[in-house]
Every structure is written in C-alpha cells, then in structure tokens.
C-alpha cells in the first residue's frame, strides 16, 4: 500500500514568503489496530521528515504514531524566490525512505 500513490508537494511564493504544502502517502499504522483476521497490524509510521531549501536544511519534523494517515503538512519559509528547490525527505520506523522535490512557483 502506498507504493502506487505518490507523495505530493507544492511550493508557492506568496507576499514575499514561500508556502510549502506536502502530502505524503503513508499508512501510518500505530501498531494498535487490528486487521480483518483480528491480528495486530505492526507499527509503521513516519518518524522523521526534513525539508531543504537549496541544500540548506530549514525544518525537521519528528512524528509519533498520532500523525494522521497520509500525513499533510503546510508551513511557510521566510523569503525565497521563484525557482528555489524545495526537497522533503522522510524516514519511517522500518527504515523506508522517500524523497519529494519541487521548485517554487
């Protein structure tokens, strides 16, 4: 699950600041839910998300299990200009990784 769906990212310049919106595709299992066969679904959740702007790290988000499924984040970066590279990398508790990049419009 999640493999067929893609992480999405948008970055837009607005009133001098950059607005970044990210939608990651991840089941975020807490490890407490049960599946149809009444077996516990093992925990699988994103632990660490980091954001780079033009190879400068600007934000790091540590997540627990209580972040909703398919995590969504929106935040602002001071300044910036069109064409800036914004990159997000995430790692989950099982070591799976993902990268998603975009340019500011």
């Amino acid at each position: 699950m999640g493999l067929s769906e893609k992480d999405r990212i948008r970055a837009k310049l607005k009133a001098g600041d950059t607005t970044v919106r990210v939608l990651l595709s991840h089941p975020m299992h807490t490890g407490r839910a049960k599946n149809d066969a009444d077996k516990l679904i093992p925990a699988e959740f994103i632990q660490d998300i980091r954001c780079w702007r033009n190879s400068e790290e600007v934000l790091s988000i540590k997540c627990g299990t209580a972040t909703a499924r398919n995590p969504y984040f929106s935040f602002h970066l001071v300044g910036g200009q069109q064409g800036d590279q914004i990159a997000i990398r995430w790692v989950d508790n099982l070591g799976a990784k993902g990268t998603v990049e975009t340019t500011v419009i």
């Binding site: 807490t30 600007v58 209580a66 972040t67 969504y72 929106s74």
Partner: protein, 162 residues
C-alpha cells in the same frame, strides 16, 4: 629480539583493531543520512503521559500559559467528527521560534509531533493528527529560550487512534 617482535606484533594488532572499528562505524551508517533515525527521541514518543513526554523532550522547565499563541483544532474548531484525521493550525506572533510541540493528552502515546524550526521557517503550521477520544490538545512553542503553551479541548465522534 623476541621483545622487539612482540612490540611490533602489538602495534600491528592495535592498528588492525582501530581500523576495523572505524570500518564498523562507517558501515553501520552512523555517518550516512540514516542518522536521521538515530535522532528520533524514542523516550519522548513512547511516553504514556504528557508529563513524561515533556520531561523526556525538554527536561524540567517552566511553561507559561500564553493566549497570544493561536491554535486551532478541528473543523469547526473544538469539534471533530472523525478522530483519525483532525486538522490543526498553529500561528503565533512570537519571534525566534525554535521548536513547536503538539500533544494530545488522552492519546495512548500523547506526543504527536515535534518540529525543529530554523530561522528560515515560519508559522503558520498546519497538519492533520489522530485523536483517540474527547481530550485537551496542547501546543507548546519554544521561542527565545522560553516555553509557551496553549490548550484546546476537542470533542471527537469517532476515536481515531487504533
């Protein structure tokens, strides 16, 4: 003669040991981007009460209640139909924000997320969280070395923290 040999042998052995430890460190990924994982504060995230989580994350510290910190939970605010995905929004006029922490008091594991912000980053911050049952939701901001806190009570129809 024999002693000389022994000394040399020791040297070689020592060299071999330090080389192999270095190789171990390198291959174990400590120097690679995998160190991301090592920085995850598992004590804080596995804590079962708000106090424990904060103690593990921030140490002993005074937290001032601050209404200048704007914090919205749920849509419409203070009410959420589905606890599996409750929108939150944090906004504040504080400057030099270093850290933002979100906790849900009655979740099995209260600590939801912890943001480390650099000066290039700015609020408002929006996200979606899971809330298990009717519970106070807390946002804590660390700015200029001080901690500010604000709490909202949220009602949920369907618990979302299974």
């Amino acid at each position: 003669m024999m002693e000389d040999l022994n000394r040399q042998r020791r040297k070689v052995l020592k060299g071999a040991i330090s080389a192999s430890t270095l190789a171990l460190v390198a291959t174990s990924g400590l120097l690679l981007p995998q160190q991301l994982l090592a920085h995850w504060p598992s004590d804080a995230f596995n804590a079962e009460t708000v106090e424990d989580a904060l103690l593990a994350l921030l140490g002993k510290a005074d937290i001032a209640d601050d209404s200048a910190l704007q914090f919205k939970v749920g849509a419409p605010p203070s009410y959420a139909i589905n606890g599996a995905s409750v929108p939150i929004q944090i906004q504040s006029d504080l400057t030099n924000i270093e850290r933002v922490i979100v906790l849900v008091e009655k979740n099995p594991l209260p600590l939801v997320m912890s943001l480390e912000m650099t000066s290039a980053c700015k609020l408002p911050f929006k996200s979606m969280i899971k809330i298990a049952e009717d519970s106070p939701v807390m946002a804590i901001i660390r700015a200029n070395g001080k901690l500010y806190k604000t709490t909202r009570f949220v009602e949920v129809d369907i618990g979302g923290c299974a």
